[in-house]
Amino acid sequence: MDPSRGSFWRSVCLAIVVLGLLSLLEGSGQLRLGRVGLAPDLVLSAVIAWAFLSDSSNGALWGFVGGLMLDSLSSGPFGAYALALGAVGALVGGGRLSLYADVRTWGAVVGASGAALFYALLLLLMALSGWGAPLLQTVRLIVLPAVAMDTICVVLLITPMRALQRRFPPSPATS
């Protein structure tokens, strides 16, 4: 294994530190905006940005770790965030196209798709766990504005995540 490309455990530690801080910031309630009190999903945005620049395994790893952090702060069903974020990380990382990785517009498309998929999965998992909310209202008032905010966040996070990956290269896709 090429030592310069980092190791699995270094990726885990980095994910715990970065996503831990972001989840604490998200759980502080300081970022809520407007009358509805929506907040950008920082952990989700970081997972999408990281997966966009790496691969499926690293995306799933970051999604799983970030999901566990949010699950420990949430009163929702434990594991729902881990499953939804893990799936989003794996799919975004698996579907990335290196050729377009430098194009901001492509980052926005991936950000919007990833955030929409995350909310679809989370709503499904919560509905299966007995959490019921009017779907159309939830999509109109919560999901769509949140996806828009998260898309902006993903685009903004791509540059710092790229710098972080240069400093701490994720473990390679094949070994």
């Binding site: 809520r32 999903d41 999604g63 799983f64 420990s72 434990f78 799936a87 990382g93 766990s129 009017p134």
Partner: protein, 279 residues
């Protein structure tokens, strides 16, 4: 298949297993441990952010604070005079009630039974659930469904209790519903949380007299919330020619976005008396 193709599937499998274990109640201990650590970290971060914010506000608002201080001194003097006059009114009211044979069932305006005070440790991450974690739990005698309040009114109810941390569902969550009444007319209804975080009182009789500014209180029906806790004020009445019931938008009396300290009503006899409560 590449060696690491199974890694994403492994994470998803573990997450799904956690979800299933949680549904079966097999994760209460590790979840409590994680929640406690998360709450500690969150409180440390909140304190840091609050200190930074306080320092900035202090330097920005020094002049404003001086002016406010002067105004508040004046207000205290005015209120002292007003309080003395109200004391006379209370005494007169007691005499008149006695003469009319009213039974004084409740004491002065105040909340009894709200005896556990704690800090709000964590707000709910994400945008779908409106809940908070507080830094006290079973150790302090909390049980699920106990009402949570502040001095200004109703906050929500306890939904999950661990040793030193509890989860509180806010009244603005879309799963929350509270039996309520309009203080002025005693009209009953149900206050429900909405997806957008607002409160709507529905189930109000079509011909009921509901006005903007009316105070909405808990009615005590349903057994979870004691009677007489302030929920909020009617900010809009929604008439419809086709609906069987009236609806009213209610502004919560408590600012649920900036909660710091809350009380839990632990006594089932806890009541809040209100002017006009008679026999």
């Amino acid at each position: 298949m590449r060696k690491r193709d199974w890694v994403p599937l492994l994470f998803l499998f573990v997450a799904a297993a956690l979800l299933l274990l949680d549904r079966g109640g097999g994760l209460s201990s590790p979840k409590a441990w994680l929640s406690r650590w998360a709450a500690s970290g969150e409180m440390a971060l909140s304190r840091l952010l609050a200190n930074i914010g306080n320092a900035r506000v202090f330097f920005q608002d020094l002049d404003e604070l001086r002016a406010d201080n002067e105004m508040l001194r004046q207000r205290v003097e005015d209120l002292t005079v007003e309080l003395a006059a109200l004391g006379e009114v209370v005494a007169e009211n007691e005499v008149l009630r006695r003469e009319l044979g009213f039974v004084q069932t409740q004491g002065v305006l105040g909340l009894r039974g709200a005896d556990v005070t704690g800090r709000v440790a964590v707000a709910e991450p994400g945008n779908l659930i409106r809940a908070i974690h507080v830094d006290f739990g079973r150790n302090a005698g909390l049980l699920p469904d106990m009402p949570v309040v502040t001095g200004r009114g109703l906050v929500g109810r306890v939904i999950e209790v661990e040793g030193a941390v509890s989860e509180v569902l806010l009244i603005t969550d879309s799963r929350s519903s509270v039996a309520a009444l309009i203080q002025r007319t005693r009209t009953a209804g149900i206050v429900r949380g909405q997806v957008d975080g607002s409160l709507v009182m529905d189930g109000i009789a079509r011909d009921a007299d509901v006005q903007v500014g009316d105070i909405v209180l808990t009615s005590g029906l349903g057994g979870v919330f004691p009677k007489g806790i302030v929920i909020g004020q009617v900010s809009q009445v929604l008439h419809s020619d086709t609906a069987m019931f009236l609806k009213a938008v209610v502004s919560p009396s408590v600012d649920l976005s900036s909660l710091e300290v809350v009380l839990v009503v632990t006594s089932p006899q806890a009541v809040r008396s209100e002017p006009g409560d008679g026999p």
